[in-house]
């Protein structure tokens, strides 16, 4: 068997047989997807405790409306079809406004909130129907312990503004029955583009565009590739450093050339990441189909994902192995690891702007830089917009050239540095190794 493959087989077995690998295999998606899963699971888990809100209504107009609305809400909006309670009941307590000492009154109400007697209190300025800028009486204040994130505030905002608008329209003499239609909000629904089915020649309906598909699919693909890099290519730095410092490298060099040595390690890592990603991709597809959401899976991207990932691991792996060969101990490796990882992390920083606007000059330009093409081009391909066909092809050529260059330069550093002891991995030294070989 080819020596590179024998080395790769050993690397693969050594990595896959460890308990750490199995644990990482299980834990990584849990950690990475954990926050999303928690969000999904807890999305519907709302606080069902009844809420009482005190109201300081300076207009004196809103009391009966608020009570009526709360009563309607409590009767009609808090139970699902099975009769289960799914939202809290709301109650209003109208407080007579103390004009002489409003601060004292607010303090007392705040103490009642702290004492959990009431959930919040609201101060409605007397000029809210005809507001003036910079006038405190034209504003509504919602006082609560976590006012910024309080769902009740959102509900209250809605009902109070509906009423304010109703009152303003009534003043204009518009019938109340017309008001509901006036406030009916028609949302612009996101749709993909209509296309022609190449087999049947029929026009295919556009798919409804969802946030889940627009953001989650690209997000998961990129995160998966990033995980693979972190699991297989990045650890090559310390793995090579260890083999050098434990003097295994020179023993191996008695039987293999430095290039075989380096490529064996990279191919071993590649095998590990292929195994892991195949498990994740297959598992992910299975789960999504079981959840009845099979149509959001971008099957046409799966080959691109694997091609990009393989090249990315060879590209980053050869750089990491070369850097590892220049390190003498774990201290050297630690000091070089963050600067070495920085370029790999950059795609994660620019992910959102690229997803939001995949056709911008910024997104196009940054996705054509070979080191970032695998993650960012894939990210753009995974969004719902159609990116020009030439771009992934040019990107792929760029990656192929850059991979070739990094394997070549990495190999030259590797064979020079792997048995050098005591020399710090400085950029100048590494460059000299590349030039001199």
């Amino acid at each position: 068997m080819n020596k590179t493959l024998i080395l790769a087989k050993r690397e693969y077995k050594a990595a896959v047989r460890t308990k750490g690998f199995i644990i990482a295999l299980i834990l990584l998606p849990i950690f990475m997807g954990g926050s999303f899963a928690v969000f999904v699971l807890l999305k519907d888990k709302v606080d069902l405790n009844d809420k009482k809100i005190a109201v300081l209504d300076h207009t004196g107009e809103f009391g009966p409306y608020l009570n009526r609305t709360a009563e309607y809400h409590n009767q009609n909006e808090i139970f699902n079809e099975e009769g289960e309670k799914v939202a809290p009941s709301y109650f209003f307590e109208m407080i007579e406004v103390n004009q002489n000492d409003p601060n004292q009154q607010r303090l007392e109400l705040s103490d009642r909130v702290r004492g959990k007697e009431i959930h919040a209190f609201v101060q409605i300025g007397k000029n809210v129907l005809h507001p003036n800028p910079n006038d405190e009486q034209s504003r509504i204040f919602y006082y609560a312990e976590n006012a910024a994130l309080d769902n009740v505030r959102g509900w209250f905002n809605n009902i109070i503004n509906n009423r304010i608008r109703e009152l303003r329209l009534l003043e204009l003499g518009i019938e109340r029955e017309q008001v509901q239609d006036l406030f009916y909000w028609v949302s612009a629904e996101g749709m993909g583009l209509v296309s022609l089915d190449t087999k049947t020649g029929a026009v295919k309906d556009a798919r409804q565009s969802s946030e889940l598909q627009s953001i989650m699919v690209p997000y998961i693909l990129i995160l998966l590739m990033f995980m693979m890099l972190m699991m297989s290519a990045v650890p090559l730095l310390t793995a090579v450093m260890e083999e050098k410092s434990e003097r295994i490298a020179e023993v191996l060099l008695g039987s293999v050339t430095p290039t075989q040595f380096m490529m064996g390690k990279i191919l071993g890592s590649l095998g590990v990441s292929l195994t892991t990603s195949a498990i994740y991709v297959a598992g992910g597809v299975f789960m999504i189909r079981r959840m009845g959401m099979g149509d959001i899976i971008p099957y046409e991207l799966v080959p691109w994902f694997f091609v990009y990932m393989l090249l990315n691991i060879i590209m980053v792996g050869s750089i990491m192995a070369a850097l590892g060969s220049a390190c003498n101990d774990s201290k050297d490796a630690q000091s070089i690891q963050f600067p070495a990882m920085f370029p790999i992390i950059i795609p994660l920083f620019v992910m959102m702007p690229v997803i939001m606007n995949p056709l911008s000059n910024f997104a196009t330009g940054i996705s054509l830089f070979p080191l970032w093409t695998p993650m960012l081009m894939l990210l753009r391909q995974a969004t719902e917009v159609t990116i020009p066909t030439w771009q992934p092809i040019v990107g792929l050529i760029g990656i192929l050239l850059f991979t070739f260059l990094s394997v070549w330069a990495g190999g030259r550093i590797f064979r020079s540095a792997i048995i050098m002891q005591g020399k710090k991995p400085k950029i100048g030294t590494l460059m000299r190794y590349i030039v001199k070989g």
């Binding site: 024998i6 050594a14 083999e243 003097r247 020179e250 023993v251 191996l252 008695g254 050339t257």
Partner: protein, 302 residues
């Protein structure tokens, strides 16, 4: 026929010339000993032969051809500082290296070597469980598993107890008898004297000795007296014609100045004390080594 031929190879690290225009021919089937003080260039030379380092100038030929990586299967190499994959099982590790050397059936071969070194009970234990001596035997095994035509051993006996050193020595001789050419570096002059067909000494990157022990000793002539007396070293002081005395406790070695008559020295000593043994001989390899590389000159880094 030479299996290895170095022709004026030079290697520098920064401003330091580690190996300086070194030429050497190693005949097939011989045991060639590399000696020299620490930092003199032995390991650098060996690494260049192994194609791990590349000479700045000069050529290296193995089996008459400029070497390439593909030649490596016929060359076994035991580096001076050696490590093993600690988490691998012993037999698995030996098989792995055997596969790298293109051994067709690594399993049975690994078993036979494990048996030879009494390591069979350890075959399925992890390498990290082995003692230092056992690890060294495993390292030696992976170097010679395919009985390569050339075996290069950098300090093969360092750290070994006498029993294990004896086992390794016997196997080296056995491999030579089967046709392998052995090169080894050592600091143990007695081993070099007893085992090597040829001795090669490198000092400050340059070749200073190369040849059989006899031819090397002849270069220095019979200028050494080994003597045992009842008076010991005290009785041997201040004698005209003695350049240097090396005291071994029970026996002293005297180096004579050029042109000195040993009979005259004997008669002077006999006047001072009773002589129990007197031998005129060539200098030992140890003495030759020290004459060339005085201790104050030796500590350079390779």
């Amino acid at each position: 026929m030479s299996v290895i031929a170095l022709d004026r190879i030079t290697k520098t690290f920064g401003n330091h010339v580690a190996v300086d225009a070194l030429s050497l021919e190693v005949p097939k089937g011989s045991i060639y000993g590399f000696i020299g003080p620490n930092g003199s260039g032995k390991t650098t030379t060996i690494r260049m032969i192994m194609n791990i380092l590349y000479p700045d100038s000069g050529t290296i030929q193995i089996f008459g051809k400029e070497q390439t990586g593909s030649r490596l299967d016929q060359v076994g190499y035991l580096p001076e500082e050696r490590g093993l994959y600690k988490k691998m099982k012993v037999k698995e590790l030996i098989q792995f290296y055997a596969e790298l050397k293109n051994v067709p059936q690594p399993g049975p071969l690994a078993d036979s070597w494990l048996e030879k070194f009494d390591l069979t009970p350890w075959a399925n234990k992890k390498v990290e469980a082995l003692s230092k001596g056992m690890s060294q035997k495993v390292q030696f095994t992976i170097t010679v598993i395919n009985q390569p035509e050339i075996i290069i051993l950098d300090e093969p006996f360092s750290g070994l107890d006498p029993v294990n050193a004896e086992i390794i020595k016997e196997i080296i001789l056995e491999l030579r008898d089967k046709g392998s050419t052995i090169i080894f570096s050592t600091h143990d002059m007695a081993v070099a004297e007893k085992m090597c067909d040829f001795i090669f000494m490198i000092y400050q990157g340059k070749k200073v000795l190369d040849g059989t022990l006899k031819s090397i000793q002849e270069q220095f002539g019979q200028d050494t007296i080994r003597i045992r007396t009842e008076g010991g070293p005290k009785a041997l002081k201040d004698i005209a014609g003695i350049e240097k005395m090396n005291d071994f406790g029970q026996m002293q070695e005297l180096r004579m100045e050029q042109g000195t008559d040993p009979q005259e020295i004997l008669s002077v000593i006999m006047k001072k004390t009773r002589v129990t043994s007197f031998e005129i001989t060539s200098p030992s390899l140890n003495d030759i080594f020290i004459r060339i590389a005085r201790p104050e000159k030796t500590e350079h880094h390779e």
